[in-house]
């Protein structure tokens, strides 16, 4: 039945090309997708950590910390990711190793995955700083003050009060960041990392079926986007549990 349909639509060749096992290239695309998601997850997590400290520093840090963070977020948000990736990818490893040597450690060898996560993580961190700063500011001051009044140490205050309270405000922004992270992994193709876009390019070049493979890769990216959107929607509902339903409020 399905075979007949494929035949009728003239998609036989496409199915052959996209088959999961060789000589089809579908397996390569899926491997690329896994690599992309792996890097996106790592970069997103790293961005969250940087963002958390960045937001804290921007809100409660000294004037120098605040200005340095402003420089960081401004530069990262104004300079193309592609340029940042090139700089961080080539210079970053070099500088890291020199720094490690200077403090007496041996050099480390960074794999493509780690370098990719590091580079995109730094980019994500800048956006996450802004998102989380906005979310923390949206937490009613009274809640934080109440915590302080009970003599909570700063870390506990953050963990018990600020983080849970800001989550509903942060999730939409973080969802966007996640989508940006998945799409930015495509840029690693330009530095030769075998993620989805590069695998697609290789498959397309080897078979000369550019249209088929780029469309297939597009469908994969879109699937990831749509599924993540669902998950984040659910996460937001969970974070907002127990909140009164304020119609019209945003």
């Amino acid at each position: 039945m399905i075979d007949a349909l494929i035949e009728a639509l003239g998609l036989g060749r496409t199915v052959e090309l996209l088959a999961l096992s060789p000589p089809g290239w579908g397996g390569n695309l899926l491997r690329g997708l896994v690599a992309s998601i792996q890097i996106a997850l790592g970069a997103f997590a790293m961005g969250l950590v940087i963002g958390l400290f960045g937001a804290w520093g921007k809100l409660y840090g000294g004037p120098v910390t605040r200005d340095l963070l402003a420089v960081y977020t401004t530069v990262v948000r104004a300079v193309p990711e592609l340029v940042l990736i090139l700089i961080l990818y080539y210079a970053g490893t070099d500088l890291l190793n020199r720094a490690l040597m200077a403090v007496g450690y041996g050099r480390v060898e960074l794999s493509g995955v780690v370098a990719g996560i590091g580079v995109l993580g730094i980019v994500q961190g800048a956006y996450a700083t802004e998102v989380l700063r906005g979310a923390i500011q949206a937490v009613p001051a009274g809640q934080v003050e109440a915590g302080r009044a009970f003599g909570m140490p700063a870390l506990m205050l953050m963990r018990r009060i600020v983080l849970p309270a800001m989550l509903p405000f942060a999730i939409p922004g973080l969802a966007n960041l996640w989508l940006i992270a998945t799409k930015d992994t495509a840029l690693l193709a330009v530095v030769g990392f075998a993620e989805l876009t590069l695998e697609t390019r290789q498959a397309a070049a080897a078979t000369r079926h550019y249209f088929t493979f780029f469309l297939a890769a597009g469908a994969l990216y879109l699937t990831v986007t749509l599924i993540s959107a669902r998950l984040f929607g659910r996460l937001e509902r969970w974070a907002r549990r127990g909140e009164p339903d304020v119609a019209g409020a945003r």
Binding site: P63, V79, P80, V83, I87, Y90, I180, Y210, G218
Partner: protein
């Protein structure tokens, strides 16, 4: 479903007197020191040889950016309108278009348009006979198309919200006055929607700027491609990238200033 636009960005620096606090003066001095160190200790001898090429590249980046934003915005208006109030026949394709564009990487879209379309040409010999062929041979039309579509996808989403947020009362009032539908759109609805979208437009344009270097991968010689060429010719790696960073920072700064000026010119009287 959750709406996924890119995070808006706006810079609002304080006035100068407030800006130059003691620690900032020290930081500026350190920055000047770093700049001076870079100027003196790094290799810049290649600069004069490539300055012409760099200016041409810069110009190409700027007009690609400006034109794609302009055309993209023109496309975004019907896209937003169709999603906000259009009948299902129009709203569904418009929404699908925005979702697809925003759900896939620009690099992939660019390659699909350039190499995908290119691979179809030989099957249709008449394309080479057509009058458009001299343009189809060049790379920039594809770059412009991809960037325009991308901008339209993101901005279409913004315009959808903007059209929806115009108070209904105003539209009803205009209709009660007997205003024809087209005049109502032109005089009341569109201006108010654009005004609401304007604050995000600056941020979207900066994001578009960040997408432009990707066109170098389809042989368009923009400012990024020129730096790549310097790297290939001279094997000097970091200096051109450093300069490129400064150039993009400056363009982004100019975009932000331009939109602030634009916003200032439009009176803020929202209903």
């Amino acid at each position: 479903m959750m709406r996924a636009g890119r995070p808006a960005m706006r810079f609002r620096p304080p006035p100068l007197g407030e800006f130059l606090r003691p620690h900032r003066v020290v930081m500026l001095l350190i920055l000047l020191g770093i700049v001076a160190w870079c100027a003196l200790n790094l290799r810049w001898h290649w600069l004069p040889r490539y300055s012409d090429l760099a200016l041409q590249g810069l110009w190409r980046t700027i007009w690609l950016l400006a034109l794609s934003c302009f055309l993209g915005f023109l496309l975004a208006v019907p896209l937003g309108l169709a999603q906000a109030v259009g009948p299902r026949v129009l709203a569904v394709p418009a929404r699908a278009f925005c979702t697809v564009i925003r759900g896939t990487p620009l690099l992939l879209q660019l390659w699909l348009i350039y190499f995908g379309l290119g691979s179809l040409f030989p099957q249709y010999p008449w394309i080479r006979e057509s009058e458009l062929w001299p343009y189809l041979r060049e790379a920039w039309p594809y770059a412009l198309l991809a960037l325009t579509i991308s901008f339209a996808g993101y901005e279409g989403e913004v315009m959808r919200g903007a059209f929806k947020s115009v108070p209904r009362g105003q539209l009803e009032a205009a209709r009660a006055m007997g205003m024809p539908r087209l005049t109502l759109f032109r005089r009341v609805w569109l201006p108010q929607a654009v005004q609401r979208a304007l604050p995000t437009l600056g941020g979207e344009t900066v994001l578009q700027l960040k997408g432009t270097p990707l066109v170098a991968t389809i042989t368009v010689v923009d400012i990024y491609a020129v730096t790549a060429r310097v790297r290939q010719d001279t094997f000097i790696i970091y200096e051109p990238l450093l300069l490129l960073t400064v150039v993009y920072l400056m363009i982004a700064g100019l975009i932000v200033l331009f939109f602030r000026w634009l916003e200032g010119r439009i009176p803020q009287r929202l209903g």
